[in-house]
């Protein structure tokens, strides 16, 4: 099966984005595929490379990057949602790309499953 995952939860202020990461990891572990991971609403904060938690804490931005690299997937975020929240090219983490909502709709139409983490 082929999944599209939409993440609307911010990186630190709620558990939702981390749940999405755990889910995505297990999708791959079961040999399914992910059409797209898309960050919208406060979810765009997941792509801010300036995020620097203490070393003994979870760094979700890095976890997303490692996942994207390992499975060669793109992490998309909506340009309008990102600009309003101060995530722009200058602080965009590697592995993420700033795109538009059209990408999300295409992915939804192309995949077998659509799941939201908020």
């Amino acid at each position: 099966m082929n999944f599209t995952i939409l993440i609307t939860a911010p990186v630190f202020d709620s558990q939702g984005a981390y749940s999405a990461y755990q889910f995505a990891k297990n999708v791959f572990a079961k040999s399914h595929s992910i059409e797209q991971i898309f960050f919208y609403n406060a979810g765009v904060y997941n792509a801010n490379r300036f995020i620097a938690p203490p070393s003994d804490e979870l760094n979700l931005v890095q976890l997303w990057q490692m996942l994207a690299k390992q499975y060669s997937i793109k992490l998309h975020l909506c340009v309008a949602a990102a600009q309003r929240r101060g995530v722009i090219e200058k602080n965009l983490a590697d592995g993420f790309s700033i795109t538009g909502l059209g990408q999300l709709i295409e992915a939804i139409n192309a995949s077998d499953r659509f799941i939201v983490f908020n």
Binding site: N41, A81, R84, V116
Partner: protein, 122 residues
């Protein structure tokens, strides 16, 4: 994969001004409609407050996003549903709403949800 447009139901359950949720959901909806996806809107709970007439944000000096709903028909989006029980619970009637909607009871809403491929709950 055929990439057929899917039917999408937007379930809106929050008031209009405290968070940008409804407004950002609207942007998804517009984009989806340009991809020929069939769109429906369902207002539940505090989502009904988005549709109240006479919202005047000039004193707050912010934009009133909800006036955009009046343009829904321009985008050929005519399936707008409202939970009858939630309207009553808030002391509102159809005459209080900025656009024509279809009132549904909970059983009808259950059937509506079951008819869609994709459900986005904001």
């Amino acid at each position: 994969m055929e990439n057929l447009p899917k039917s999408m139901l937007f379930v809106l359950r929050q008031g209009p001004h405290q968070t940008p949720q409804a407004r950002e959901a609207f942007d998804i909806l517009l984009m989806a409609s340009s991809f020929a996806n069939k769109i429906s809107l369902l207002f539940l709970s505090d989502g009904l407050f988005q549709l109240i007439k006479q919202q005047d944000t000039t004193l707050l000096a912010i934009q009133n996003f909800t006036s955009a709903y009046k343009a829904l028909t321009l985008y050929d989006i005519n399936n707008v549903y409202v939970a009858k029980d939630d309207l009553l619970a808030r002391g509102l009637t159809e005459a209080d709403l900025i656009l024509a909607t279809t009132l549904l009871d909970d059983i009808e809403i259950s059937a509506l949800i079951a008819q869609h491929d994709i459900i986005l709950n904001y």
